[in-house]
Amino acid sequence: MGAGPPLSGGFASGRHAACETSAYLDASAAVKLMIAEQESEALLSYLKDWPLRISSELLRVELSCVCHRQGMPASEAEELVSGIRLLPTGSAVLRGACRAFSPAQRALDALHLAAAEQARSQIGCFITYDAEQIAGASALGWRVASPR
């Protein structure tokens, strides 16, 4: 073994360390945890490394709409989001979403990004399968994942 930097005690402290536990899921990812798709297993496996899962309250609305469209009870969406910490869509998030993230960003995408930005220091990874959201989150410097 070569002489590397001094060992620091095995763990970093503060905000950087906290974010290594948490991943933000947008609806394009969460929907794959509710109705089986090709990427579902890969996503489940990936999430094991992120014990704290975060999203916005918007997720409950979006997944409920999917349930209605699919003829499923909305309680199915509720069962899934019960395992996710949902950030409130308060005035700070709404104001944040007015920021021009990218020209192709839709309102819901902007709201998800704004919610994640609000908890930025706690989130280590942004999980999405939406091409525009991948671009938007990457542009903001997020570590983006789309496990396949």
Binding site: P6, S28, A36, L52, G83, P88
Partner: protein, 104 residues
């Protein structure tokens, strides 16, 4: 070195000897015993670290007003995926989401 604390005897077996030699360039301790103590503390803190991080992140999310998680996401998802496979020819969840969000 004199100490008022109780000593712990650790046999310097080949495995421990190798580990100590390998880590020595990155440790500050001047003596082998000091380096062994340093390594033990690093190891103990590393084991406890994930819990500490999780607690810090949870507390910060509480401050932001995030809802508490009331269940295990992985277990919930496994139950849901068993109930809702996507049969061929039927609209997928992602397609329903695209419908719900409207065209770009």
């Amino acid at each position: 070195m004199p100490t008022r604390y109780r000593r712990v005897g650790v046999p310097l077996d080949p495995e421990l000897d190798d580990a100590l030699r390998g880590a020595t360039p990155r440790l500050r301790g001047a003596s082998q015993a000091a380096r062994l103590r340093e390594l033990a503390l690093i190891g103990a803190r590393s084991i406890g670290a994930p819990t500490t991080r999780l607690r810090e992140a949870s507390a910060a999310l509480d401050e932001l007003g995030a809802t508490p998680a009331r269940g295990d996401l992985i277990a919930a998802s496994r139950r849901l995926l068993r109930r809702h496979p996507t049969p061929p020819g039927r609209e997928s969840g992602s397609e329903s989401l695209r419908w719900a969000r409207g065209p770009r």
